[in-house]
């Protein structure tokens, strides 16, 4: 009996992990190829279409930019100024002060000449209490609304913004991001081209700016970050935003629009109940709920993505912070997959049920288990002297070369499309980073994911975890 069980375990690891590995590698190849076509088509279109004509167009859908702010007194004035300078006419900017303990609200009041209004709004989503809604006396800042509320977290703050605004669409951004000035002119293109299809949400590329030159809230020159941790995240973002999401979006199977930057159809978000407070993956959870709403109501729709670097942010610069971020991403993924388990292999959800959801389940959630389990199994058989070393090294070599191939391919796609890094040394530095990643960095991501799983199942570490950033370089620094 014991022998049989052991035999099954051995067979499972020997063949199961191997086929799992082959499945992941071939999935990456297919996804990368679809993404390449999608990105290429988009960049060709981008090179000739003049979005500037949209600036004064009566066709612009109305958009509110909702930016939650918590203890942002140092940067709030500059961040609001940066948002006010965006090239979009039919726009409202809503800063939601989420019960900051510092001078965030007062800084905004003083610098933008704000007064407390008696504006009423329809509380369609339950949120923490709003203390006041402020507007500016100055005409130049007439687009600005500052909402002061009790602390309730990011999801709650955005829900307040959704309640307060009346625009057709809203954009959710992290207040410390730099948004490209034409970002919304580009993001509304899929909305305007939607025709009879409802465009529920549109996402864009979030690009990293560590060690970049930034002047007057604009990214002037990008260079590869000096630190390894910065560089490796740049490569990771290339893979995700240039080789991953375009493919899912092309098949309308994208489950995630980054919380840092996305535009959403307000009506749909209200119908599905706004952002969910009970998960740290609220951005993914909202998109899954929107998919479910459209699918179950047989509505033609699209969750769109434009592979255009429209939002710039700073990556964590130490491993503790990065580890906490990845831990949170893991917990968010598990929570979302559990919330929406009815999607799994459910024909009502089409591509989501048959491909997107199972892929996330197998390639995202189960990946650290497969990797760690495979390594443990190999360690045991190596100790017992049962290992077939030629095969071990051959498979190791295959996985390693494939990993660097995919990473370098993502660098190549970046170079062929946006070529943001001008020096040859930057390219070589990113390539070297990609070559070291499987050895130096990947084991850490597995560890963080496993920790995220443990935290999820034990109920530890329920919050977001503290995120500290160095801050963008100011002019002349």
């Amino acid at each position: 009996m014991i022998n049989t069980i052991l035999n099954i375990i051995v067979q499972f690891f020997e063949y199961g992990v191997f086929f799992y590995c082959m499945f992941i590698l071939s999935s990456y190849l297919v996804i990368s190829l679809i993404s390449t076509v999608s990105v290429k088509n988009y960049t060709r279109r981008r090179s000739i279409l003049d979005h500037a004509t949209l600036v004064s167009s009566p066709y612009q859908p109305s958009i509110s930019i909702i930016a939650p702010a918590y203890n942002e007194s140092v940067t709030i004035v500059d961040n609001i100024r940066s948002l006010l300078s965006l090239h979009y006419t039919n726009m409202t900017i809503i800063i939601v002060n989420d019960g900051s303990k510092d001078e965030t609200l007062q800084m905004a009041i003083d610098n933008y000449d704000l007064y407390l209004t008696d504006q009423e709004y329809d509380m369609q989503i339950d949120t923490k209490d709003v203390r006041g809604i402020y507007k500016s006396r100055k005409k130049a800042f007439s687009k600005l609304i500052v909402v002061d509320k009790h602390n309730g977290g990011k999801a709650d703050a955005i829900n307040v913004g959704i309640n307060v605004t009346e625009t057709e669409y809203f954009a959710c951004i992290d207040v410390d991001c730099i948004i490209d000035q034409d970002a919304f002119l580009r993001l509304v293109e899929p909305i305007m081209k939607g025709g009879e299809k409802k465009v529920g949400a549109v996402g864009g590329i979030v690009w990293l700016t560590n060690d970049a030159d930034i002047k007057s809230g604009k990214v002037m020159k990008l260079r590869a970050p000096k630190s390894y941790i910065g560089k490796i995240q740049v490569v990771e973002y290339f893979r995700a935003f240039l080789l991953g999401r375009p493919a899912w979006a092309a098949k309308n199977g994208m489950l995630l629009i980054s919380g840092a930057f996305g535009v959403f159809d307000r009506e749909t978000v209200l119908k599905v109940g706004g952002y969910n407070h009970n998960t740290v993956g609220e951005d993914m959870e909202l998109i899954m709920r929107m998919h479910a709403y459209y699918r179950l109501n047989d509505m033609p729709y699209e969750i769109a993505y434009i592979p255009d670097p429209l939002c710039w942010t700073e990556a964590p610069s130490d491993y503790d912070v990065l580890g906490r971020q990845r831990n949170r991403w893991t917990r968010g993924t598990i929570e979302c997959l559990k919330f929406h388990k009815s999607m799994f292999m459910n024909k009502k959800f089409g591509i989501l049920g048959y491909i997107s959801y199972p892929y996330w389940l197998v390639a995202e959630w189960f990946a650290p288990y497969a990797e760690a389990g495979g390594l443990l199994f190999f360690f045991i058989i190596a100790v017992l002297g049962l290992a077939n070393w030629p095969f071990f090294f051959a498979l190791l070599f295959l996985v390693y070369t494939f990993a660097i191939f995919i990473s370098i391919y993502s660098i190549l796609i970046q170079e062929l499309t946006y070529h943001k890094y001008e020096s040859v040394s930057d390219i070589l530095s990113l390539v070297a980073t990609a070559m070291l990643e499987p050895i130096l960095y990947h084991p850490k991501t597995v560890k963080w994911s496993i920790k995220g799983n443990i935290d999820h199942f034990t109920g530890n570490n329920k919050g977001w975890g503290e995120m500290t950033r160095k801050g963008f370089k100011k002019d002349g620094e």
Binding site: T53, L54, E189, G194, F405, E415, H419, V424, L428
Partner: protein, 271 residues
């Protein structure tokens, strides 16, 4: 078969005595070499991609410097061209003025240079009106660049076709009308909407709207309205033309909301 294979290696003699197992063993060897070959393939591809990126980047940086210089030179030239007198004295001035002598050898025989100059004229003209715009148009024609614009419209790449149509529109190249007519209902919607815009521009009215065989989305309406505003088409009978295009209620509603400011739609359309 995979990593536990060595367990069975003590049984090689038995394997060799059994035909099926020999086949299995050979399959294992083949499989091993297949994995190695695929791995080497990925490694070689990764190396080639890196090499390609480095060479391309070096070349781009080199060309970027020369292209930027060329663009600046053409911009200088064009701004001088439209501000200086539009007669023969222009050549004399450029020859005698130290600041402008560097503009003299305006060699545009090379296709790449002609392309850059055409783009610079195009961008510059978009910012101008009246006589100066007219001057630039004449210069564009004088260099024979309209032929290149027409060639672009005839090309197979849809981005080139759209680019060519943008030239036709900006420089009002009437010879392009025949080419454009067949593109109004093109399956590529970017080509189609640009063809419609060029027709509006060259016809100086919106009769082309009657030829459209499909529904247009907000993006396309925006383009059309922008063009009508740009051309300031006021004395056009929109009523019949738009009613011919807009046959369903939904589109009438869109037009009502969106076109109203430009076309005074409410006075023209009755439900």
């Amino acid at each position: 078969m995979i990593i536990l294979q060595s367990v069975y290696k003590d049984e090689v003699s038995q394997l060799l005595a059994n035909k099926d197992n020999v086949t299995d063993d050979l399959a294992v060897e083949y499989f091993l070499s297949l994995i190695l070959n695929i791995s080497f393939g990925f490694a070689v591809l990764a190396f080639l991609m890196t090499l390609f990126m480095v060479l391309r980047r070096k070349n781009m940086n080199k060309n970027k410097i020369s292209d930027t210089k060329l663009m600046e030179r053409y911009q200088d030239f064009l701004s001088s061209f439209i501000t200086l007198p539009n007669d023969d004295s222009f050549i004399g001035i450029t020859k005698n003025n130290q600041n402008l002598t560097r503009l003299e050898p305006l060699d545009i025989s090379h296709t790449h240079r002609r392309k850059i100059l055409a783009n610079e004229i195009f961008k510059f003209k978009q910012q101008l009106t009246g006589q100066q715009a007219e001057q630039l148009s004449n210069y564009f024609y004088g260099l024979g660049l309209q032929k290149e614009a027409l060639d672009l419209v005839r090309s197979r790449s849809w981005t080139d076709i759209v680019k060519g149509m943008q030239f036709l529109n900006e420089f009002r190249i009437q010879e392009g009308l025949e080419l454009i007519n067949s593109l109004v209902n093109h399956k590529n919607r970017e080509i189609a909407i640009h063809a419609i815009i060029v027709r509006i521009s060259l016809d100086n009215d919106i009769s082309v709207l009657t030829e459209i065989e499909r529904k247009m989305d907000a993006w396309e309406w925006h383009k059309i309205v922008f063009e009508i505003e740009r051309l300031q088409l006021e004395n056009v009978n929109f009523n019949a033309l738009i009613m011919a295009q807009i046959q369903d209620k939904e589109l009438i509603q869109i037009a009502d909301q969106k076109l109203n400011p430009v076309l005074e739609f409410k006075n023209l359309v009755t439900f």
